[in-house]
Symmetry: C2
Subunit: 283 residues, 2 copies
Amino acid sequence: MRIITSIAEMQTTARELRRCSTLALAPTMGALHAGHLSLIAAAKRDCTHVAASIFVNPLQFGPNEDFSRYPRTFEADCAALTAAGVDILFAPSAETLIPAGATTFVEVAGISDRLDGAHRPGHFRGVATIVAKLFNIVAPDRAYFGQKDAAQLAVLRAMVRDLNFSVEIVACPIVREADGLALSSRNSYLTAEQRARATILHCSLTAAADLHARGERNAQALIATMQQMLASEPTAVVEYAAVVDPDTLLPLSDTTRGALIAVAARLGETRLIDNYLLGADHA
Amino acid sequence: MRIITSIAEMQTTARELRRCSTLALAPTMGALHAGHLSLIAAAKRDCTHVAASIFVNPLQFGPNEDFSRYPRTFEADCAALTAAGVDILFAPSAETLIPAGATTFVEVAGISDRLDGAHRPGHFRGVATIVAKLFNIVAPDRAYFGQKDAAQLAVLRAMVRDLNFSVEIVACPIVREADGLALSSRNSYLTAEQRARATILHCSLTAAADLHARGERNAQALIATMQQMLASEPTAVVEYAAVVDPDTLLPLSDTTRGALIAVAARLGETRLIDNYLLGADHA
């Protein structure tokens, strides 16, 4: 695996790779787990060449968030990406990717203020701006993101559509632990006790999905079920439990046309998110 | 000349053209004059293939500005572009380029609020957003803009730098009438009397440039000269007369390292702009 830290070198290399083949990009913040590696596996199936990026993006962290303590495991990440067959790792420094004096941002208005965006002001502006830069630098044919960050997917799909990026966004299913906890680099923050209790997010979603499977289509009923389940774990401080349109992130009153059910909660200092996609009823 | 109105067709065509050659783009709002054609001539010299775009961008007009009456001369524009040797004209409808539901914008913070941006709130956000879209759709190697829109050039150069677009911005010199008036599609709004008086913008700039050539380096002295000249034409309502850094558009106190001197004024309803680049002193 070739490691590139220079923007110009990455642009030149990507241009050569795209000439007679397809190029995939899996943008990450490192601290890689099996969820990230599932993106690489999907990219390997679809494209001739696969690039990954590692960049802990300061623009997407709020002033009181975990930027400084976000896990950084570069050596292990490189080994995992090499083993997974990644051709190129783009790993620029913060000074390289966000030089002093840069003032341009990309804002997906509306969607960026919903779900996680409502609780993390400026988060999705930071995400959209850096992903736009990565798309311009790497110019991949396809870019791979995890379904776990469902709101991020909605923001980036809107950005690609609205700004006409020649990139296909591919969403990969959530990878879970045996007990249902969605994999996240932030799970490493959890104490053993918090880790045991963290399954409550997944449990609340399966309870709502079960209710939906038994015929309930009323969004308020599904939300009440999620909230009831989450309330059974009083150490979990709920940020949202929502039933929304997966593209606009706007609340839905019923789930007959499918829905994204999503939860966010804090266990101690650690913010966790999870979601399920409910399918549409057959016409 | 091939005329393309579909985004997908433009993207496919541009991709084919770039494969073994260089592609230029000259973005315009139509109502073409010799200034626009100088962009095409420069593009023809530099690149294998030349595309132009015509799109009267509603996002860059304020609610009380001249969007509805902006001159639209599509047939004549096509004839001029064909005669100039343009290969492809991209001319999407407003519904095609800005579909309902689009909410993403590109903002070059800071620079966008200076000079024209200070007098046209949201103008440069509209410019940057549409030019970003055109860059993604056409993906030109080089894009050609007129030096007359000096603030626009600063905004777009910052956007390309900050978002890492693989596009070289090329600025082309201002083309002037025999009496010095900078060519502009908006000159067609002027009555014969206003047209005669409109040379005051150019006169104020040449007065300041002459003063600079005679050794004056104090920005306030140059501004005073411009204002004095502009005041001699009381029907011209001055918006700004400024000495700024051409990249940041921030005011300069002296011109030893070069400067952009720029003026904006209204004659009746018609807003006109003009500028000069002053070179740096030799070290």
